[in-house]
Assembly symmetry: C2
DNA sequence: TTGTAGGCGTTATCAC
DNA sequence: GTGATAACGCCTACAA
């Protein structure tokens, strides 16, 4: 059984060879307040005063002490300090893909909110890999006071590696997880999007889904619900998987979907990157966008305004998503109940541009 | 005078009200190993053994202790642990703009390299603000063992807030800084780019520069040197400033440059975002790219392949940049001299696409 | 102005 | 197997 507290790390690598001089290459033990005190011929307390700009100290001794400190390249140990002055909070942030512009923007929101609270944020890129997610948690369960992030692993696995650290998972409904959650109201968003396409006369609408074909996520479910509600001649055979959440992934998925459903007149992309990929494949095949094929994205990346034609998309306030996550986890870490109302839920907004 | 060691922070906010019960809302003192020991009726040492999966312990007591630990929501203090087990390294990463895809990719490189070393990385977005840079350093000088980042502040100001933490600055030549440095060989890159434009017949080439007009950086200097070398009828009046390093900034700057130098047949953008902005303004004014106006970028963002026409650019291995920075700062923190050769220098590669 | 004593929470060491 | 004892490096309180 895996103990959630155990530090199964391969830390400790600093050899204790104590070079007395601060210079010299090779690993040397860092100078402590004691070393400084000794060399300066004062008590540790005096060093502390000098180093911390406390008042009660003779300017002369202060200067002397500071001089020695500099000489020894002394820096207070953050561990010792943290032990005695409370209040330094570290949050861990797990992101699946730094190369998708969506996540840096979420991160920006997280950083903002964390900064306001005086927290620092440690970032980990899981590369959408379950094992790497757990590695992150193994670290964070020891090194962080709170965790926020995107996870593929199921709750129980996460919990096992979390060791009780307050956690908020992103884009998993509050009812779908036992952790704090901040989600996107995919249903509301997708409904808007499909309604827009239908309004424009489309009936044969496909989807490029980022979720595994055997594990439909909220976006696909919302899509299927929407097309059904509008009575469209569309079923799950109109959904092609795009395991790679990237432009290239979208290109490939679109090719596949077009082969399966040539009668398509519109596609909904799991995210903007995939949607852009879809546009590219469509155009490469000689289809005009939006005339022959309308394309709808999901995310609202800045990128969408730069491609041609500009991408119609369901815009998400990514920064807010990040901020909310921090607020949630802050609640958790003070023992409050997580929010589950509108404060934990961001609703996509349809942004109509040229592609649909 | 600002003491580099002083913790001029407004930390400490945790009120010491010790709720004995683990549950209950409101701030409660976190349970310590002592609390667990007491409630479980064993010594702290035994708790430590249980929690750390050490061998020498009776399975029964272990289970009991773990149970209590769970009950009390006990998590070992990372500070106390860090004090006694050495080896947990934290690096601070200062980025100027998370919204520019360039930097997340640099960050990805930093994270990779840091992970390989078992380091964790705390990220700070300075938003290209000198004051925020210093805020970051004030934090990192206490909380980090190494710092890597982009800075506008001059060396001496940085040093003042760094308190001796090993530091590597990005994109500042080794001879331009007293810190460790990892740079881009702008001269080599720009030379390739301008040569390409000249080869295509361009002689009236402008530049959209991201640096302040009164503080030319390496890219502008390289540009000016290159056009001079090719004997082009171009001087610094062909350089328009684009203080915003964004698409919008590039659009505005391009408008300005086009007004000043309508005879332009090609532009070099400080970065890809600016270059894309330039393309947009050009096309909005009815100019065809590249026929009427060729556009050359600098960065090699993925984005450049998606715009129309695709952007010709000087591609930088951003991930490598990040990795090198970590390697450099790792050297510094073990007392070695920083690298200054090719290992600390990334050379842009011309990628020819449709825009030039 | 300066020094001494004690404790922050954890683990290593060495007894029992 | 389990428990004292002594660090780890720093800071707060109090004494000199």
């Amino acid at each position: 059984m895996h103990s959630v507290w155990a530090d199964n790390a391969d830390d400790q690598e600093r050899e204790p060879r104590a070079g007395q001089a601060p210079r010299g290459d090779g690993i040397r033990r860092r100078a402590t307040i004691h070393d400084v005190a000794q060399l300066a011929g004062v008590s540790r307390q005096t060093v502390s005063r000098a180093v911390n700009d406390k008042g009660e100290i003779d300017p002369a001794t202060k200067e002397r002490v500071l001089e020695v400190a500099r000489l020894l390249d002394y820096r207070p140990s953050r561990f010792a300090r943290g032990l005695v002055r409370k209040g330094a909070v570290t949050a861990g942030l797990v992101l699946p893909d730094l190369m998708n512009p969506f996540f840096p923007e979420v991160a920006a929101g997280v950083l903002e909110a964390a900064e306001e609270r005086g927290w620092q944020v440690v970032v980990w890129d899981s590369r959408t890999d379950e094992n790497r997610e757990l590695q992150a948690l193994d670290k964070f369960s020891h090194q962080a006071d709170a965790v926020v992030g995107y996870f593929k692993n199921p709750d129980d696995v996460l919990a096992q590696h979390l060791g009780g650290v307050p956690t908020v998972v992103l884009e998993r409904g509050p009812h779908q997880t036992r952790f704090g959650a901040v989600g996107i109201d995919a249903a509301a968003g997708v409904a808007q999007g499909i309604a827009h396409l239908v309004r424009a006369g489309h009936r044969r609408i496909g989807m490029l889904d980022g979720d595994r074909i055997d594990a439909p996520g909220p976006r696909r479910e919302a899509f299927l619900a929407a097309v059904r509600q509008h009575g469209l001649p569309v079923d799950s055979s109109w959904v092609a998987p795009s395991p790679e959440h990237s432009v290239a992934g979208g290109e490939a998925a679109m090719a596949q979907l077009l082969d399966a459903r040539p009668e398509l007149t519109a596609v909904f992309g799991f995210n903007d990157l995939i949607a852009v990929g879809a546009m590219r494949t469509a155009r490469r095949r000689g289809l005009r966008v939006p005339d022959d094929l309308a394309v709808l994205g999901f995310d609202g990346l800045a990128l969408g305004e730069l491609v041609e034609p500009a991408l119609t998309t369901l815009h998400i306030d990514k920064r807010r998503l990040g901020r909310l996550a921090v607020e949630q986890v802050a609640r958790l870490s003070t023992g409050q109940e997580p929010l589950t109302g509108a404060e934990a839920w961001v609703i996509p907004q349809l942004v109509v541009r040229a592609s649909a």
